[in-house]
Amino acid sequence: MSDINQTTGAALQKKKYIVPIGPQHPALKEPGHFEFTVEGEIVVDASIRLGYVHRGVEKAAESRNWTQVLYLVERVCGICSHSHGTAFIQCAEKLAGVELPPRAKAVRCIAGEIERLHSHLLWLGVAAHEGGFDALFMYSWRDREIVMDILENFFGNRVNYSVNIPGGVKEDITQEFIDGISPDLDYLEERMKFYLDLINTDVTFRMRTVNIGKISYDESASLGATGPTARASGIQRDIRVDRPYDGYDLFPITLVTDDRGDLNARFIVRIKECLKSIEYIRHVMAHIPEGELTTKMPRKIPAGEYMASVEAPRGELFYFVRSNGTEMPDRVKIRTASLCNWGTIVSSVAKGHRLADMPMILAGIDPCFSCNDRMVKINFGNRNPEIWTWDQLRKYGNNFYK
């Protein structure tokens, strides 16, 4: 009898405990399901189950016309809606052979940078909230309201502001707007410096972030991290610099990197990016080129394929668009930054940390579930559709493009 007890006892000890989190959980603002396998306090394994907000945007894009798709893809994610719109409409414009007027490019740039400000401030608050630092959450969301006011005064809506229209932009930057925005930018710059100071000096905050969730340069590069997550590990990767799109070719921007790769570095990179954005908005507004806001865009886009990348606040946002010469796109493929970054935390960072650090580590990559939930479906004859070898993938790819 005692033997049985001992064996079951040993089996129980070996059995790891799984902590399920989500899809509805106070720490999650969006639905996603996580399973953390823990040994005591230490997380030894982690897995995610995504897809709760999969709506089928890519398929829906095939049954709407080009202008409607522009408004649809802006609602892939409400936080980086301008980036989605820009990436998609860039493809359409390139396929139609339309060159944007320089003033429209500059307006798109400014909108993109204001969006980055709003997104990073939002993230700063949420990440601090996950770490139990609610005062910083309230502070940063109070300052974020200033950015929201700018967005509202400028584009007429606080979120999903749709500044892009096919062939240009719908709002102009007036002198009145420039005069109105300047004191706001000064105030935001001052606040950002305060946050930077706070993150570097606050003892409790440093204890929660320094050397937590560390990703090395090599890991980050091999797992394909993008955006601030990659730049916090020292990777020089930013689409605005590498492949300048819309206004970034006229007005170059510089990179912000940090080589420490921990949570603290991710905070610092994002806040420094905000400072950079403020500087950049000032620069573009001072040198904004004269000219038209729109060019004529055909209703039917000539057949062809185009790929465009945009540096969204979370990282590289990739769009592939194929047109068959009709009023509707033939295929729209979206690859978002959050999905690339999930791999970094789940496969390497989460393991070995305390369960209490998980919310902050998860928030550290600035996850956006509604961006994530793309579907992958693979059909390959009668073979097992789950597993593909590299050769099969290559063969399939070659056949597809023949």
Binding site: K29, G56, R75, V76, G78, G125
Partner: protein
């Protein structure tokens, strides 16, 4: 505010059922009006409505000073705030959360997608129509996304619903999670390989 802060013990119909229950219900509803606790579930939203909902608990709009609090679990909540069109994946979860909320429960549908499906109206992975196709909804707040003021106005409208009570008591009954066969009917036929 004076009206809200006092018990109105007149007009209680003590003839039906247990008179003590009628009295306790009146007191409960008074407490609920003064401090409705809400829970938020994103059933397939683009985050736009979620961040506008989160804005109302931050300093500029701060509804916590009016007693509205975001609860952590459905079992502590009075009001379920649903954002986004209902995807097939999150439908069961939405029903489960709705069932977990104690009676009487109130539902606020936030944003165009929750009202009618919005831009995602004919997506293959969404329920055709709004949240009210899945659970009963008390107050609808339109907008893409609704402004924080609109969200607060929606909450004020909800207080009226709480005050007057539900007109149809059957609405409060838990909705049963549908069987497998019913779920399969909702899904579109799978593509042939």
């Amino acid at each position: 505010m004076t009206e809200k802060n006092t018990f109105d013990l007149s007009n209680i119909d003590l003839s039906k059922g247990n008179p003590r229950n009628a009295l306790v219900d009146r007191i409960r509803s008074w407490a609920r009006i003064n401090s409705p606790w809400a829970i938020h579930y994103n059933s397939g939203s683009c985050n736009g409505c979620d961040i506008e909902l989160l804005t109302i608990i931050t300093p500029r709009y701060d509804v916590e000073r009016l007693g509205v609090k975001m609860a952590g679990t459905p079992r502590h909540a009075d009001v379920l705030v649903v954002t986004g069109s209902v995807t097939l994946q999150s439908r069961d979860r939405l029903l489960r959360i709705y069932n977990q909320i104690p009676d009487p429960k109130f539902v606020l549908a936030l944003g165009s997608c929750a009202l009618s499906g919005g831009v995602f109206h004919d997506c293959y992975c969404c329920i055709q129509g709004g949240v009210d196709k899945v659970i009963p909804v008390d107050v609808y707040v339109p907008g893409c996304p609704p402004r924080p003021e609109a969200v607060i106005y929606g909450l004020v409208k909800l207080l009226d619903v709480i005050k007057n009570g539900k007109t149809n008591p059957t609405e409060n009954k838990p909705t049963l999670i549908p069987s497998e066969s019913e779920l399969i009917d909702l899904e579109r036929p799978a593509e042939s390989a």
